[in-house]
């Protein structure tokens, strides 16, 4: 962030601190959402370096927070103005700058190896898609219920083997096999407690099937 006047470091830090917690933000002029002030939660702002009018910081925020807007709002509070100079996303959900982070050169080299018969590098780069679902509450189901779910059937309670302990009603949940494969996304119809205690009824309705039909044998009647 570039500040538009010389501001004392203590003031800068204090103002940045004010921008943690709940903030109100109006989406910028050119935005793909309705332009009305909305609440966003800033979990943390860590200042790394202040050099003259330039401030380098990491901001951990809720999805949908505009960083450019955050910088200019900070400038407003400082009453001198400020703008965002450079931005890098260092984390989005389960994706962060770890050993899985790959650039295009590495990908293209791994692809050439693969075409030459060596898939080791490509296997390391490509992550199972289940990784993208690891922040959703899970319900793990029996082999015998898998193909029905693949055909879009509701998940009935007898099919449930294991589940996240904190599911509410009407929440987005991921249905998994006992081998850890994602089967479908669904909407919970009961709480974890109810799913554990009851024997009859519907645990979740399927919204989006991921697994190919026929991966597991059909144990249900047409």
């Amino acid at each position: 962030m570039q500040v538009h006047a010389d501001i004392a470091e203590t003031t800068l830090r204090a103002v940045l601190n004010e921008f943690t917690g709940e903030i109100y933000q109006k989406p910028p002029l050119r935005a793909s959402v309705k332009r009305e002030p909305r609440k966003r939660y800033i979990y943390k702002i860590d200042v790394h370096e202040i050099e003259g009018r330039r401030v380098l910081f990491t901001c951990v925020c809720q999805a949908g927070t505009y960083m450019r807007k955050l910088c200019s709002d900070i400038g407003e509070v400082l009453s001198c103005g400020a703008h965002m100079q450079e931005l890098r996303r260092t984390r989005a959900g389960p994706f962060k700058e770890d050993e899985t982070l790959t650039n295009l050169h590495q990908l293209s080299a791994a692809q050439s190896d693969f075409e030459a018969g060596d898939d080791a590098a490509l296997m390391k780069i490509i992550q199972p898609m289940e990784l993208a679902l690891n922040q959703l509450p899970k319900i793990i189901i029996r082999d015998s219920a898998v193909d029905a779910v693949c055909h879009g059937a509701e998940l009935a309670l007898p099919g449930v083997v294991r589940l996240d302990s904190a599911i509410d009603r009407n929440r987005l949940v991921a249905l998994f096999t006992m081998k850890g494969e994602a089967i479908a996304l669904g909407r919970s119809q009961l709480t974890s407690r109810e799913i554990l205690d009851q024997e009859k009824g519907i645990a979740a309705k399927v919204e989006r099937v991921i697994m190919e039909r026929g991966t597991y044998p059909a144990m249900w009647k047409h």
């Binding site: 917690g21 709940e22 939660y41 979990y43 951990v60 999805a63 949908g64 996303r89 984390r91 989005a92 959900g93 389960p94 994706f95 962060k96 770890d98 899985t100 982070l101 790959t102 650039n103 295009l104 990908l107 293209s108 692809q111 898939d119 490509l122 296997m123 780069i125 490509i126 992550q127 199972p128 898609m129 289940e130 990784l131 993208a132 922040q135 509450p137 899970k138 793990i140 029996r142 082999d143 898998v146 449930v160 083997v161 294991r162 589940l163 996240d164 302990s165 904190a166 096999t177 006992m178 081998k179 850890g180 494969e181 994602a182 974890s192 554990l196 991921i210 991966t215 597991y216 044998p217």
Partner: protein, 84 residues
């Protein structure tokens, strides 16, 4: 009010019944053969600034000879699926 980032949430699994899985069907995601790995796979890609996510997805489709690929929207994470 202190809210934690979604990835800090501590998820816990509880058993309803005890059950085993038949090894003849399906397979653990980490054991998927390369073709299926690509079909049901994603890449945590370090996108250079400049080209749009959409352009980068097009390059990846070309490099990997895929018929379908997409990116995770604001996640900016190209997700490879369905090889030709």
């Amino acid at each position: 009010m202190q809210i934690t980032a979604p990835w800090v949430e501590n998820r816990q699994l509880v058993d309803k019944v005890s059950e085993t899985t038949n090894p003849n069907y399906g397979c653990r995601p980490e054991d998927r053969p390369i073709r299926l790995r690509i079909k049901y796979g994603l890449i945590n890609l370090d996108k250079p600034p400049g080209p749009s996510s959409h352009e980068v997805v097009a390059w990846i489709k070309r490099i990997m000879k895929l018929s379908h690929a997409g990116h995770g929207g604001t996640l900016e994470t190209p997700v490879g699926v369905i090889p030709k």
